[in-house]
Amino acid sequence: MALQSLDIVARSATTLPPPQIRHTEEVAKLIDISKCIGCKACQAACMEWNDLRDEVGINFGSYQNPADLTPASWTLMRFYEVEPDGELEWLIRKDGCMHCAEPGCLEACPSPGAIIKYSNGIVDFVEENCIGCGYCVTGCPFNIPRISKKDNKAYKCTLCSDRVAVGLEPACVKACPTQALVFGTKQAMLEHAAERVAELKERGFKNAGVYDPPGVGGTHVIYVLQHADKPELYELPKDPKISPLVRLWKGITKPLALAAFGLSIVIGFLHYVSVGPNEVKEEKKDTDSNPPA
């Protein structure tokens, strides 16, 4: 962590810039939904590498298992049966943290250093500094962080920051048998995605495209979607961005509010030393001789 701390470019609840001297290449994980066969090897690999064992849940009538992301399930294959053009399609999307360039979680977090962003683009939770308030959940446009009921800490995909730091790909990418998951520099992934989109268009998916939403400054997990015009089919927000309410809540209004507190105290002090206290005037005279005004 000591040297890795050189690579932290953003830190939650921190007003001064972190070390800026070093720069690393931005990375990205590309999820090509058109190549995914829903085998869940990525889910298994995530559990294995991160030593996570979620509780055994119940079958709710879908291949999707568990039903939702949890503190111990950081990635999840979501299965959608949709009919976008009148024909049934079975869409499978690997869900997990998008590692936004402008992370809503980090913006919202009130605890210094509980959420950090590395210069390679990975957004990590530092559970040791997490206070369990849930602001990251409120700030995230993708509904990713989960607070554990056991320890009140927030958890999510780390993009295997520990593996990436030593030059390895994330565990899910390593395990994917169809190369639906690819990992590399963001630039390389965008180029690869563009090739895949061209191929898909040739095959008749005229709305194929890349999901790298600009509203959050782009992401370090990007998708190739068959229906990029309708990300809602995959339960992806059409134009995700940090909500204006979160900006209002965490933005310039806070220092302005603090300034107003300070100013009000200063005004009070100046009033006291100029106008002075409001004392009972009558007490100086003989008290009982004065009838009420």
Partner: protein, 210 residues
């Protein structure tokens, strides 16, 4: 120049205790809230044993503050209805801050400034309670959709801002108007104090006594 004796009861012991429970809960909720309000005040979390304890204590302190406030507000309620004279009082705010009380319409048990404070507290505490419950992840937050929680977070911060500002004014007013703190600590005021600051209230008491 001996001090006139305290003879008029302004606040009974139970009213005073109630007030100070609200005050202590306000400081607990307020300081822990400020720790989460802006990074420059996160050091306040140390007062509560660190970040997680701050997060745990904050909502409970808030609940105590709201409950205790509304117990207190129950017996203050009717004395805080605004009257026509109150609007005149507010128009003469420069006479108020200039200590020229004799020019003002006579105040009752509470003057117009105190009444404005009272209703500001009522409104901000209701907003804080509702919005606070909506972002209390330990219990209620996940019953609300994301947009509602985002709205609640913004409303909570705004209502807290209004409340803190109102309390700064309240505390300063008690330092400024001599005898006020004594009234809330020991409960009694002198007849001269009552005549000067709350003439209508003084008159009612005298008539009641007569």
């Amino acid at each position: 120049m001996s001090r006139e004796e305290d003879t008029i009861v302004r606040y009974t012991a139970s009213e005073r205790i109630n007030h100070w429970i609200v005050a202590i809960a306000f400081f607990a909720a307020g300081l822990s809230g400020l720790a989460l309000f802006h990074p420059s005040l996160f050091f306040l979390a140390n007062l509560f044993g660190g970040g997680p304890w701050t997060r745990i204590i904050h909502p409970w302190a808030g609940v105590v503050m709201v409950i205790a406030f509304f117990l207190m507000a129950r017996w203050m309620w009717a004395d805080n209805y605004l009257t026509a004279e109150d609007w005149q009082w507010l128009k003469q705010i420069w006479d108020v801050v200039g200590n020229k009380e004799e020019r003002l319409p006579p105040a009752g048990r509470y003057n117009a400034g105190q009444k404005m404070l009272f209703w500001t507290l009522v409104a901000s505490l209701v907003l804080l309670l509702v919005s606070g419950a909506m972002i209390w992840y330990g219990y209620f937050a996940l019953y609300f959709p994301l947009w509602a929680r985002q709205l609640a977070a913004a409303v909570h911060a705004f209502a807290a801002f209004v409340l803190v500002l109102a309390i700064i004014v309240h505390i300063y007013a008690s330092i400024w108007v001599k005898g006020s703190i004594r009234a809330m600590v020991r409960g009694k005021v002198t007849p001269a104090w009552a005549r000067q600051h709350h003439p209508e209230w003084y008159r009612e008491i005298m008539e009641g006594k007569a």
